[in-house]
């Protein structure tokens, strides 16, 4: 079966037309940032950097959920795996992220029960099948993932599952955008906004940030035509001097977003101040479980001692996540740090900028 809603957006003729338009319209050099790890991967995979004019720089922002997770949080995950009678369930990307002393992968090799799951359903199934163990799910991700975790908690309560717990390290994109805009190291002229976070939060959610900073913004999808359409919109906005908040992915993103998902998230979580790797503490940018769900809240149920956390020495992930440096500017890149022996999270996660640079190294440098 043809991959509908995908193949059409890879049409070389349409792509050529968009590239032509970008080349015609774009005059001055400028820097665009994509704020979504899936965009980073797609931009590299489709070779978008090579086909647009050289004076347009594409930078990656804090869009890889694993990468923005702080060292302290990683160390906490590792400590959780040491609690007796527990199984830690996690998405695969977290396994190899180096903590201060160890990683989840190391701990598993030492006999801790840590399991990779594809969705919270798998974690819930573990809880159901192994009732005498406590299952702790490591909740990492943005507004796209948070509703899926919230749904699992509601489901656990409905089903009377009492051995399922979530450690919430979720983060919200909008507060991080404001922090980026205020950061002196960040020098960008337009934002490619995340496609699937926007599916949940909707275009309207960006309005306050847009009205405050008036930076050209385009929500984009993930196929080559989608990404080029987003860039085309930003070029038009920049060259005409009329910033807009444009939705170039209307088949998936609406003004109000997915209300059902947003309301389940709202039902289970409330905002809290939280720290991001690279960006520091950002007010109201994290999500914690509401008191009504405290029985499922790993932060409340389990007290773990976490030794002093230290970020990997020499790793520039913090600045990579702000687009202030590119991975090859990091002294460790491709020397002591590579996907087989990663020093920082940006080299581990498939959505990490360093790993994307590394994989597509030969054609991107």
């Amino acid at each position: 079966m043809a991959i509908k809603h995908t193949q059409e957006y890879r049409d070389p003729e349409i792509a050529a037309m968009l590239i032509g338009k970008i080349k015609q319209t774009s005059r001055k050099p400028f820097r665009l940032m994509e704020v979504c790890g899936t965009h980073t991967m797609a931009i590299f995979r489709h070779g978008i950097r090579q086909i647009i004019p050289e004076h347009i720089s594409l930078l990656s922002g804090p869009g890889c959920p694993v990468c923005v997770t702080t060292q302290r949080e990683i160390d906490t995950f590792i400590a959780l795996s040491g609690i007796d009678n527990t199984i830690v369930a996690t998405f695969g990307d977290l396994m190899r992220v180096p903590g201060t002393e160890s990683s989840l992968e190391n701990e598993r090799a030492c006999g801790k029960d840590i399991r990779m799951v594809y969705s919270t359903y798998d974690a819930l199934n573990l809880a159901r099948k192994i009732p005498d163990k406590k299952i702790i799910f490591l909740g990492v991700g943005f507004e796209t993932t948070a509703p899926t975790i919230a749904a699992s908690i509601v489901y656990a309560r409905q089903q009377g599952i009492k051995n399922y717990f979530v450690h919430s390290s979720h983060k919200r994109v909008i507060p991080a955008l404001s922090t980026l805009m205020e950061d002196e190291d960040v020098n960008i002229h337009g934002l490619i906004l995340p496609g699937h976070v926007s599916v949940i939060i909707g275009m309207d959610a960006y309005r306050p940030v847009f009205d405050k900073y008036h930076l050209p913004c385009a929500v984009a999808g993930f196929e080559p035509v989608d990404i080029l359409k987003g860039i085309c919109s930003l070029v038009d906005q920049i060259e005409s001097g009329h910033p807009m908040l444009e939705n170039t992915y209307p088949r998936a993103v609406t003004a109000e977003g997915n209300k059902k998902a947003a309301s389940i998230m709202e039902h289970v979580f409330e905002n809290k101040d939280t720290a991001w790797r690279g960006l520091g503490m950002i007010p109201q940018s994290g999500l914690k479980l509401r008191d009504t769900f405290e029985a499922f809240d790993a932060q409340k149920v389990f007290a773990v001692e976490v030794p002093k956390s230290e970020e990997p020495r020499g790793c520039a992930c913090g600045n990579v996540l702000k687009g202030a440096v590119t991975p090859p500017e990091c002294p460790l890149y491709n020397k002591t740090c590579s996907p087989t022996s990663p020093v920082g999270p940006c080299m581990v996660s498939s959505e990490g900028t360093c790993s994307a640079y590394y994989r597509y190294h030969s054609n991107s440098l």
Binding site: H5, I14, G20, T144, T145, T148, H196, P250, N258, E351
Partner: protein, 77 residues
């Protein structure tokens, strides 16, 4: 973590759906989706369907792009 390729719902059983991703069948929860139906094209994230692709909008966008491409083509010739 995002599955950017849309999947088609082929079966619904309570709040779980069987989805087809380019010929491969998987399960996805429908808890976050309003009014799902067999035949819908959905975006799936971490085992949950999070959006139904708007067919009419998808067609309209493509038409506009194709028209623009053919105009550019004519100018080039």
């Amino acid at each position: 973590m995002c599955l950017a390729i849309p999947s088609r719902i082929v079966k619904i059983d309570n709040e779980m759906a069987t989805i087809d991703v380019d010929g491969v069948q998987r399960e996805a929860s429908l808890l976050l989706l309003e009014e799902p139906a067999v035949g819908d094209w959905v975006i799936v994230h971490a085992g949950f369907a999070i959006h139904k692709i708007d067919e009419a909008v998808a067609q309209e966008t493509l038409q506009i792009l194709r028209d623009a491409a053919s105009i550019m083509d004519q100018i080039d010739k």
